[in-house]
Symmetry: C2
Subunit: 234 residues, 2 copies
DNA sequence: TGCATTTTATTTGTCGACAAGAATCGAGGC
DNA sequence: GCCTCGATTCTTGTCGACAAATAAAATGCA
């Protein structure tokens, strides 16, 4: 077997091992490099990363806590499956979180938050222009994550991050099939959301976030199946 | 040192160790038996539970993933602190989750769900009558957790569970200071919520859940400090 | 040949041990 | 007397190994 880049990193700082394998595995799962259902062999990973099974297991436990891997007792852990029969619950949740975090961002953001958000959006426009689906998906996540952070509610932020990550896998499946144009309208909607946050217009943020979520949900549902989502006027 | 009950359980099934120590530690944290900030020594726990450090560490990693313990590199893990300066974000989140999960329960509950919810509420009334604060706090959590389960959205359920658990610590602090009567009005509100769910009246569920949350938040805030929470009309 | 059962092999769960880093304690200097 | 620096102790992070449990292969039987 050829030397992988991980093996060359012989000298690692104590405690950095788990973080490395955690982030690496996480990225490979979210980009579907590791497809859902793929078994995860501990010894295999151990020799791949050139370390013992102990830090590997710790990383797997953390990933299991986030729902990205499923562990069966005395059996191999597997990459978490995507339950398409429960997609509507995902749509419900991401729609509400888009609305809530964008509202909160309008209220609590500071100038430096806006700079971060705008930077992500600029990069988003770039990768859409470059027709790079993988980068587009990752940056879209960063954009909404930055908005959630600006809202300064760690509970909402953590759920939003989890949903955004799960969404990376779903979007990847979506764009893997459709290799057509990356939609420009999302970029426009992002800019409108930024303007609404900067203007601290809570109601406008709510409407834009909901419309943004609706747009994405509509596109995905007509690919994966009917829209099982219910309207949540609250 | 005297033999503890854990040590007497010499024969354990393979794989049950982590679950045992995870649930035990979790319960001790949520009941404030282990106060926030208390350092958690791995070898101490290892000999207390009569097992190696490996399963102890795995349990700690899981608890850290849920935010119940904080780990510092190369230093002792500690029971997660309660950030009182961010209590308002907790109130925001639990209020919204009460509303959303109760709404969803009204829509998606099945007859057997109602039985479970009613059973929890009966037990709630019992422990309130018995003036048992610890049991009241635990059963209150189970009651709202059952409602969230009946709503059948795993994303909302998981955030709700996390908030309910965090709430157990806050309520414990609250009732530890006030050793006065356990409020009867919560029990009445619970019954009203059950009736609204059974009637599948979504809007009524929303109003009742919000009022219920408001009631609790009001009581806690006048103890811990001013209500920093904002109104979220959505 | 097809199925049930035993045997082998693979993979996980747990253990004890060692080394790196941090906290504690003590000695020395100002 | 107080601060700084070094040695010691203590705790964590990682390792290699062993045993239990499952999966796979081989064997026996109809």
């Amino acid at each position: 077997m050829a030397e992988t880049s991980e093996e060359t990193l012989a000298e690692r700082k104590r405690g950095s091992g788990v973080k490395l394998v955690y982030e690496m595995l996480r990225d490979e799962i979210l980009t579907l490099t590791l497809p859902p259902g793929r078994p995860i062999d501990e010894v295999n990973l151990a020799e791949r990363f050139g370390m013992s099974r102990t830090p590997i297991r710790e990383a797997l436990v953390r990933l299991a806590g986030e729902g990205l891997v499923e562990t069966l007792p005395n059996r191999s852990a597997i990459v978490a499956n995507i339950d398409f029969s429960k997609l509507h619950t995902f749509f419900d949740a991401i729609t509400l979180m888009y609305r809530v975090t964008t509202r909160l961002a309008a209220q609590y953001h500071r100038p430096e938050d806006l700079e971060v958000i705008r930077a992500h959006q600029e990069r988003y426009a770039q990768v859409v222009a470059a027709q790079d689906p993988l980068a587009m998906i990752a940056v879209n996540r960063d954009f909404h994550a930055a908005i959630a952070e600006a809202g300064r509610n760690p509970y909402f932020t953590s759920l939003t991050l989890r949903l955004l990550d799960e969404g990376r896998r779903i979007l990847r499946l979506y764009y893997q099939s459709f290799n057509d144009r990356l939609p420009q309208e999302y970029s426009d909607e992002h800019n409108a959301i930024i303007a609404a946050i900067a203007a601290r217009d809570i109601e406008l943020c709510d409407r834009l976030a909901r419309a943004h979520a609706d747009q994405i949900v509509r596109q995905i549902r007509q690919f994966f199946g009917r829209d099982m989502r219910q309207d949540v006027p609250l």
